[in-house]
Amino acid sequence: MAETTEVWRGTLALMILKTLETLGPLHGYGVARRIEQTSGGRLAVHYGTIYPALLKLEQEGYIAAEWGVSENNRKARFYRLTRAGRRQLARESQDWKLTTDILARFLEAGS
C-alpha cells in the first residue's frame, strides 16, 4: 500500500493531464472521480489531495482554469489543458511508457 501512494503522488499530475485531455474541461471533483473510476477503485485516497496538484499544474502553466456551471447547474471551477500542457502530457506519457517498459522487462528477466 505504501508503494501505491508513492506512485500515486508521482503520477497524479500525469493522470490529471490525461483526464483533461480525454474528457475536456472538467472541475476538480470530476477529475478526482474520473481518476478513481479509471483506477477501478484501487486508488482510494482523499479527494482533497487533487487540489494542490491542480494548483501546481496551473502555476506551471500546463492547465488553466475558470469558473463555470456544471452539467447539473452548479457553480464549479473548470480546468482545461493549455498548449504547453498538451506537450507536457505527450512528453510525460512517453517517458512513463519507456520507464514501465524497461521496468517490466527488467522484472521479467529477474524472475
Binding site: 472541475h27 476538480g28 471533483y29 470530476g30 472521480r33 485516497v45 482523499h46 479527494y47 482533497g48 489531495t49 487540489y51 494542490p52 496538484a53 494548483l55 501546481k56 502555476q59 506551471e60 502553466g61 500546463y62 456544471s70 447539473n72 452548479r74 457553480k75 464549479a76 471551477r77 504547453a84 507536457q88
Partner: protein, 881 residues
C-alpha cells in the same frame, strides 16, 4: 523553465498574485456540493451524502492548508499570517501600541536623522566623476612654530615646483580666495570668489550647467577677463537668464565676460559664488614664503595615495634643501579630498551617532520591558497555543514578528520625525557642516532605518519571547490569569533592563553636562575686548576703483569719520580681521638686535591692521605708550603696537616701547613700538596664545577692513545709519557680515554650542525614556503585588511604609544604573577630549549633579506607582483571588 514559472507564481502569492482564500473556499465548497448531489442521486439521505463527501475530501481545513502550502511558500505564508495576526493584536491594545511606537519613533527617528547627515557628509562620495581619486595637498608646517597644526596652505612657487616635479597626478590645480563685489545692477553685492588655475575644473571633471568652464587658455597671461557664475547667483541675481553666457558683468569695478554657469551640485569650494582664472603675474609666481593657496589634485590611474605621498615628501625635501630660507621644515601631505573636507566634523558626527545609538538602546530596553509587562495578560493565550501543539519556535517567531511589526511602525514614525527635523539639525550645525546641501532622506537612509527597525524589533523582542515561552504550559493554565506566573528570574531581567537604561542615560547626561560646563567656562574667558554694544561689518574696496594705498586710506578715514558723526555712535574704528574670526594674517617677526635668521625660523605672530581708535572702540587697554594717531601716516616713521604677551616674549623685563621689530614678509619693514596694549584672544577662546602685533592701517592701506562701531542704540536703528554713512562716501560699496561683536565671539564657539545642544537634546530624550522605563517596571510590580500589599495593609502597614517599599524597589535598579553609568562615563570620557575646555572629562561636579538629576527622575518615576500602591483596598485585593 516551467518550474521557475511555478516558483514565481508561489513567490507572488502572498502579495495578491495568486488565488485568494475566498476563491479556494468557494472551489472546495463547490466540490462538496457536487459530491453531495452525486451521493443523493445514488440514494443516500442528504445528511449522509454530505458527510460522505466531507470524509472523501479528507477534511476541509486540512485540504485548505495543503492547498495554501502549494499556493505560496509555507514559511512566507506563515510569516504573513503572523504579521496580520500581530497587527490585529496591536490594534486591539492601542494604548500599549501607541506608547511603544512613540518610544521607538523617537529612538529610530533620532538615528535616521543623524545617519542622514553622516551619510551625506561622510559616506556618500563627492559629486564628481571618479571622486575617489581626488586629493588635497597641504603643506605641513614646522612643528616648533606651529605646534599642533598639521595642514597649512601652499605658496605659489612651491606649488609650481610640485606640479613640475611630480608624476603621480593627472592634474594638480590650485585655488585661492578673491573677493567679488558685484555692481551695476541694483544693490551692490559682495560675493565670495575663487581664483582657480586652468586645470582646476578639468581636475574635478566638473561640467558646466551652461556655457563652459575654464581651461588652460583662460589662465594664460593677457587673456580677457572671464568669469564662471555659480547657479545660485545666476538665478538670484540674473533671474536665470538663459543668454547669460557671453554677457559682460561688473565685478570689482571691472567688466568680465561670463563663460559659463557651474551647477550648485558641483560647487567647489563650497564658499564660492563666482570663479576667476588664477591670473598670476610673474611676481606672484615667485612668492615662496607666503602661504595662501589651496592645492587639489587628481591621482593618475594606478597611483595610490601612498605613492603620491612618498613622491611629495621627496619633492618637499628637495625644495627644503634648495630654498632653506623659505622652506625649512615645510613638508607636504596628500589627503583624500572627501576625508579632508569633512575632517572637522567627522569626529563630532560619530560622537552624535554614538549618542543616538544610546538613545535607541534605551528605547529598545523600554520596549522589552513593555513587552514583558504585556506578557502578564498573555501567559494564558500563549499557554493555550502551546497546549494545542504550536512549537516553542513557532510561538517565539510569532512574538518576534509582533515586536518587529511594532518597531517597523516606530521606524515609519521615526522617518517622519527625521524628515521634519533634518532641516533644524542641518541649520544648527551652522556653517560648520560641509556638504550640508546634500543632506536628505535617500535610499541609503531608508535602508538604514529599515535595518535599524528590524534589529530593534528583534533585539527588544527576544528576551520577552524567551521568557514568555519558557514556563510550563500547564502551570500557566492552572494559575488563572497568569498572575504569579512570573518568577524572580523575570524580575531580574526587568531590573537589568532598567539598570542599562539608567546607565546609558547617565552617560549621555554626563557628556551633555561636560559640554554645558565647557560653555560656561568659555563664557567666563575674557576675550580681551568688551564686545557689548559693538556692531561690526566688513568692507572690501575694489582694486579697480581704489588702486593705491593712499586712496584706500582716504576712503576708510572718510567712512569712519562719517560714522563717528552719526548720532548715538560712541566710537568707531576698523581692523582687518576681527578677534576670534577665522583667518587673519600670521607673519614671521624678527626683533632688532637679534642675529638675522631665515624667515622660516622666525616666530610667526598674528599681525593686524587697525585704524586709530581701535583699542578704545573695543576697550582694549593701552598699558604703556600710546595708541596710533591720525599722524601715523605712510610718510611718517613706521610704527607698531604690540600686545602684552608679545612684549613679554620679545623683551622680557624690559620696556617694549621704543624698541624696534621687523615684519618678515615685507623686507626692511622695520617698525618702532609705540605702545603696548592688552592681550586679545585672537585665535579662539580656548587658545591661550594671544601674541599680536598691530600695524596702523594708514601705513598699509589694506582693502579689506571690518568696522567696529560702539553704540548703546539697538542694532536695528544704528545699522541703517551706518550703512547710509558708508554709501555717502561710496554708493557702490557693498557691506557684508553685519553682526554684533558678541555674535562674532559666539560664532567662534559654535561647534561646542552645537555639540552641547545636540547632546543635551539626546540626553534629555534618554532621561525621559529611562524615567518611563522605571515607571513601567514599577507599575507592573505594583500590579503584581497587589495581594501582598493588601495583606500588609490589612495587617496594619501605613501608606508611608507601602510608599517606602515601592520606592526602594524602584531605586535599586536606578542606583545600579548610576554606578554602571558613572563607570561607563569615565571609560568613554576620552571621546569628548577635543570638545571640552576648562573641565576634565572626569569633572566631579558634573558627575555629582548629573547623578542627582537621574536620582530625582528615578524617585519621581517611582511616585505614581507608589501612590497607586497606597490606594490598594485590602479587602478587594484579598477577594480578587
Amino acid at each position: 523553465m516551467r518550474r521557475a514559472r511555478g516558483w514565481l507564481a508561489r513567490l507572488a502569492a502572498p502579495f495578491g498574485g495568486g488565488r485568494s482564500d475566498r476563491d479556494i473556499d468557494a472551489e472546495l465548497r463547490s466540490h462538496i456540493d457536487l459530491h453531495t448531489a452525486d451521493n443523493i442521486r445514488a440514494g443516500m439521505t442528504p445528511d449522509a451524502a454530505r458527510r460522505e463527501a466531507w470524509i472523501a475530501l479528507g477534511g476541509m481545513e486540512r485540504t485548505k492548508d495543503e492547498y495554501r502550502d502549494q499556493r505560496g511558500f509555507p514559511v512566507i505564508d506563515a510569516l504573513i499570517r503572523d504579521v496580520r495576526h500581530a497587527i490585529r493584536l496591536l490594534v486591539k491594545s492601542p494604548g500599549f501600541s501607541l506608547t511603544a511606537i512613540a518610544i521607538l519613533g523617537l529612538g529610530i527617528g533620532a538615528n535616521a536623522a543623524i545617519f542622514s547627515v553622516v551619510n551625506a557628509v561622510v559616506l556618500r562620495p563627492l559629486p564628481f566623476p571618479d571622486s575617489a581619486r581626488l586629493v588635497r595637498i597641504w603643506h605641513t608646517p614646522p612643528h616648533d612654530q606651529f605646534p599642533g597644526i598639521t595642514t597649512f596652505s601652499v605658496s605659489p612657487a612651491n606649488f609650481l615646483d610640485w606640479r613640475a616635479q611630480s608624476t603621480s597626478f593627472e592634474h594638480l590645480a590650485i585655488y585661492g580666495f578673491r573677493e567679488a563685489n558685484l555692481s551695476g545692477r541694483g544693490e551692490p553685492e559682495s560675493l565670495q570668489g575663487a581664483r582657480v588655475s586652468g586645470d582646476f575644473f578639468p581636475a574635478l571633471r566638473a561640467a558646466a550647467l551652461m556655457g563652459r568652464l575654464f581651461d588652460a587658455q583662460d589662465d594664460a597671461e593677457g587673456a580677457r577677463a572671464r568669469v564662471v557664475l555659480g547657479e545660485r547667483i545666476w538665478k538670484s541675481r540674473f533671474g536665470a537668464d538663459p543668454s547669460i553666457v557671453g554677457r559682460s558683468i561688473q565685478l570689482n569695478g571691472e567688466a568680465y565676460d561670463v563663460v559659463g554657469v557651474l551647477p550648485d551640485r558641483l560647487k567647489f569650494p563650497s564658499w564660492a559664488d563666482v570663479w576667476f582664472p588664477l591670473g598670476w603675474r610673474p611676481s606672484d609666481r615667485a612668492v615662496r614664503g607666503n602661504h595662501n593657496y589651496i592645492v587639489i589634485g587628481r591621482l593618475r590611474d594606478g597611483v595610490d595615495g601612498r605613492r603620491a605621498q612618498a613622491e611629495m615628501t621627496a619633492i618637499s625635501q628637495r625644495l627644503e634643501r634648495q630654498y632653506p630660507a623659505d622652506n625649512k621644515g615645510w613638508g607636504a601631505i596628500v589627503l583624500p579630498l572627501q576625508q579632508d573636507l569633512v575632517a572637522d566634523v567627522r569626529w563630532g558626527l560619530f560622537v552624535l551617532l554614538g549618542a543616538v545609538a544610546c538613545v535607541l538602546l534605551i528605547a529598545c530596553a523600554n520596549l522589552a520591558n513593555l513587552l514583558l509587562a504585556r506578557a502578564l495578560g498573555r501567559a494564558r493565550e500563549i499557554a493555550i497555543r502551546a497546549a494545542i501543539g504550536a512549537g516553542r519556535a513557532r510561538i517565539i517567531q510569532q512574538l518576534l514578528v509582533e515586536s518587529t511589526v511594532l518597531a517597523m511602525a516606530g521606524g515609519a514614525v521615526g522617518l517622519l520625525a527625521a524628515y521634519w527635523s533634518i532641516d533644524v539639525i542641518v541649520k544648527s550645525f551652522g556653517e560648520n557642516l560641509p556638504r550640508a546641501a546634500e543632506v536628505a532622506l535617500d535610499g541609503r537612509v531608508l535602508a538604514f532605518t529599515c535595518l535599524v527597525a528590524v534589529l530593534t524589533g528583534i533585539i527588544a523582542g527576544v528576551a520577552p519571547a524567551w521568557r514568555m515561552t519558557r514556563g510550563d504550559a500547564g502551570d500557566a493554565l492552572k494559575q488563572g490569569m497568569g498572575r504569579g506566573g512570573t518568577h524572580a528570574g523575570e524580575r531580574r531581567v526587568r531590573h537589568v533592563l532598567v539598570t542599562a537604561e539608567v546607565a546609558l542615560a547617565l552617560m549621555l547626561l554626563v557628556a551633555a553636562g561636560l559640554l554645558i560646563r565647557t560653555l560656561w567656562q568659555l563664557r567666563a574667558v575674557d576675550p580681551g575686548v568688551d564686545p557689548r554694544n559693538v556692531t561690526t561689518m566688513a568692507l572690501m574696496l575694489p582694486e579697480a576703483r581704489y588702486a593705491t594705498p593712499e586712496t584706500r586710506v582716504r576712503a576708510f578715514e572718510a567712512i569712519v569719520g562719517r560714522i563717528r558723526a552719526v548720532p548715538g555712535v560712541e566710537a568707531a574704528s576698523a581692523i582687518d580681521s576681527l578677534p576670534l574670526q577665522e583667518g587673519g594674517s600670521m607673519q614671521p617677526v624678527a626683533i632688532d638686535g637679534e642675529p638675522a635668521r631665515p624667515l622660516s625660523e622666525q616666530p610667526e605672530l598674528a599681525v593686524r591692521d587697525i585704524m586709530a581708535g581701535y583699542p578704545g572702540a573695543v576697550r582694549i587697554r593701552v598699558l604703556d605708550g600710546r595708541d596710533f594717531s591720525e599722524a601715523d601716516r605712510l610718510d611718517r616713521p613706521p610704527v607698531v603696537l604690540v600686545s602684552a604677551s608679545a612684549a613679554k616674549r620679545f623683551w622680557p623685563n624690559q620696556r617694549a616701547v621704543g624698541k624696534r621689530l621687523t615684519l618678515g614678509l615685507i623686507s626692511n619693514d622695520v617698525r618702532e613700538v609705540v605702545g603696548v596694549v592688552g592681550d586679545v584672544r585672537v585665535h579662539g577662546l580656548t587658545e591661550a596664545n594671544a601674541q599680536t602685533v598691530y600695524v596702523p592701517h594708514a601705513q598699509t592701506g589694506s582693502r579689506h577692513m571690518s568696522l567696529v562701531v560702539r553704540s548703546s542704540l539697538p542694532a536695528t536703528s544704528i545699522v541703517p545709519s551706518i550703512v547710509a554713512a558708508i554709501r555717502a562716501v561710496d554708493p557702490e560699496q557693498p557691506v557684508v557680515d553685519i553682526q554684533s561683536l558678541d555674535e562674532v565671539i559666539g560664532d567662534s564657539i559654535a561647534q561646542q554650542r552645537f555639540a552641547m545642544r545636540m547632546l543635551s537634546g539626546f540626553a534629555a530624550l534618554a532621561l525621559l525614556l529611562a524615567g518611563i522605563g522605571i515607571y513601567g517596571v514599577l507599575s507592573y510590580t505594583v500590579r503584581q503585588r497587589v495581594q501582598e500589599i493588601g495583606i500588609r495593609m490589612a495587617l496594619g502597614a501605613a501608606p508611608r511604609d507601602v510608599v517606602r517599599m515601592v520606592v526602594v524597589e524602584g531605586l535599586k535598579p536606578t542606583a545600579a544604573g548610576l554606578a554602571v553609568g558613572v563607570a561607563g562615563a569615565i571609560a568613554f570620557g576620552r571621546v569628548l577630549d577635543t570638545l571640552v575646555f576648562g573641565v576634565t572629562p572626569r569633572d566631579a561636579a558634573t558627575f555629582a549633579s548629573v547623578s542627582a538629576v537621574v536620582l530625582v527622575v528615578g524617585v519621581v518615576s517611582c511616585l505614581v506607582p507608589a501612590y497607586r500602591a497606597t490606594r490598594v483596598d485590602p479587602l478587594q485585593a484579598l477577594r480578587a483571588e
